[in-house]
Amino acid sequence: MKRSAMLRVNEHPILGKRPIRKTVIITVDGNPVEAFEGEPIAAALMAKGIKVFRKTRLRKDPRGVFCAIGQCTDCVMTVDQQPNVRTCITPVKEGMEIRTERG
C-alpha cells in the first residue's frame, strides 16, 4: 500500500465508511492522478501527498493549502488553462488538467 494512501480516511469512528465515489483521472503537470469525482482538487492532491501547489513569483517559495475554504488564495493553480483557480473549493472533473503555477 502506497504511503500516501494512508492519508485518505476511509473509515471514521463518527462518520462511518466513506461512500463509494466514482474515480476519475486528472493530470497534474502532465502526470495522471486518480481522484474522486466532485472532491476539491486540493483534496485529491493532498491525498496523494502532493503538498506544493505553486511557487511564488518573487521568491519561488512553495505554497499549498492554508485556509482550505477559498479565502486565502494560497492554493491556486492553473486548471484547464485558467490561472488562479482556488483548488480547495473547485471540484475535480474527469480529464481536468492541473498545472503548478510559477508566479
Binding site: M6, L7, R8, V9, N10, E11, H12, P13, I14, L15, R18, E39, P40, A42, A43, M46, A47, K51, V52, F53, D61, P62, R63, G64, V65, F66, C67, A68, I69, G70, Q71, D74, C88, I89, P91
Partner: protein
Amino acid sequence: MIQKQVVVIGGGPAGLSSAIAAAQAGARVTVIDENQRPGGQLFKQIHKFFGSREHYAGRRGIHIGTEMLKEAEALNIEVLLNSVVYGIFEDRTLGVIRDGANLSVRAERVVIATGASENPLVFPGWTLPGVMGAGAAQTMVNLHGVLPGKRCLMVGSGNVGLIVSYQLLQAGADVVAIVEADSKVGGYHVHAEKIRRHGVPILLSHTIREARGKESVEEATLVRLDKNWHPLPGTEQDLQVDFVCLAVGLTPLTELGWMANCRCQSVPGLGGFVLHHNDGMETTVPGIYAAGDCAGVEEASIAMEQGRLAGLSIAESLGLIDRTRSADQRASIQERLKELRRKPAFYDSSADLGNREASTADRASLEPLKVGPGYPTEERFQQGPTAIVECMQEIPCDPCAYVCPRGAISVGRPITKLPHLDTGKCTGCGLCIPGCPGLAIFVVDNTYSPTEALLKLPHEFLPLPKAGEIVEALDRYGRRVTEGRVIKVENPRKFDHTPVVSVVIDKRFSNEVRAVSVRRGRHGR
C-alpha cells in the same frame, strides 16, 4: 433587479436560525451562501454540542446542520448556493455572483451572518505547505476525508485547537503536541481531558518558534515563554511533524457591513472589529441585521440565539408578528444568551490540571475532583457500580441532566452549574456516558471482584476493542498504568457513535484509568 423580502447572507447556524425564525412568522426568506452546501461550520463539527436543549445540546454539529436544513426546507426558505454576495450597495441592494453571472438583489431586510475567519500566526516558515489553520485541517479531514499529514503540531489550546486535535486523532493522525502560549489551557477542560487521556501533551507557556522543511513542513522548533510571553533562550526543542495547525483565534468577517456603512467597533474579546448592533440585532443601518460570529466570535449556541433574535426582530419590523407576542420570545432568548455567556469558572482553582507536571503517581490531580459534586464517596464506591462525573468547570452545558433514567444527575439553572450526582439513585447503568458531550462521565464498579474493578468508558476511536481483547489502560495523562480485559462493547444507534467499553482492570487503578488503547494499532491494520 430582483426584489426579495428578507435576504440572509451566510447559511451557517446564525443565518439559518434567523431565516427559520423570520419564515416561521411568515416572511419570505432567501439565504445566500457562497459554498456548495449550507451549514457553515456545522458540517465540520462532528462532536456533540454543549449548551442546552434549545441549542441541540448533545447532538453532533453535523446532525444539527441537517435538522436545520430540513426545517428551512419545510418553511420554503429559498437557499441559493455557490452564490457570492460581493457587495452591499444603497437601499440594501446586494451584488451577487451566481453561475458566473452578476445579479442585483434588492431586499427589504438583510441579515449579515458571514461568520469569522481564522487568524494567522506569523513565524519563520509559516508559509511552508503543511502550515495551515486548524479549521483548514478540520475541513480537509471531516469534509473531504483527507489527512493533511500524519504528525501534527497544534498551536493554541482554545476550544478550536482542542476539538480539532481530538478530531485529528479520530481520523488517524498523531497530535505530537499542543502548544499554548498562556500559562493555562484556553478551552473547556473537558475538551483538554479528552485528548490528554490519549497521550497528547499540552505544553503550557510554549509556542512555535519556527517551521522548517525543504518544500513542506518536516520539523518545528518550540520554545518556552517566560511570564511576559517572551521566548526563553536555550529552551528550544525540535519536533518531527509534517503539519502544523494554527488555532489562534478567529476574526469576524465584517467586510459587507463596512461597505454598507454599518458601524463597527473594536472588541478584542470578541475577535476584533465586530458589527455593532442593538438588542434586536439590528446594525446602525436600518434594515440591516447581524448575527453570529460576524457580530462577535462566541459559540455556535450563541450564534443560533442571535439568529433567532434577528429573525424575530425582522418579523416584528415587517409587521408580521405582534410585539407583545414576540416580547416573551425575545425575553427568553435574552435569558438564554445571558446564561450562555457566563464565564467558565472553577469549582476549585487548583483543579486547573493543565498546570500540573506529569509525575509518575499523580494523585495530586485527583484531589480537586474528589470534592466535586459529581464524585462518589469512598464508601459509595464500595457499595456497587456508580457513575463518576468529572466535570469541574462551570460551562453552559446540561444534557447529562436528561439522560439518566433515574434522574440521578441534576444541573438546574443556570446551566453552568456543576452537575450533581445523587449516588443514592445511581445504579451504574452507564447511560449517562454517551450522553455527556464532554465525555467526562465514567462508571466504576469496585465490587466486581476482590482484586478487580469494572470500568465503563466512552471510546470514540477505531479500531473499537472487541470483547475478550486485552487493551492498554491509560490514566488521565495517557500513560499506560495497567492492562485491561474488555468484557463488553456497547454501540447502539441511540449512543450516536459514542461506544461504551466495559473493561476489567486491577482495582488499585480504578481512580486513575480513564481511557483504553487498542494494541492492534489505529484503524485495525
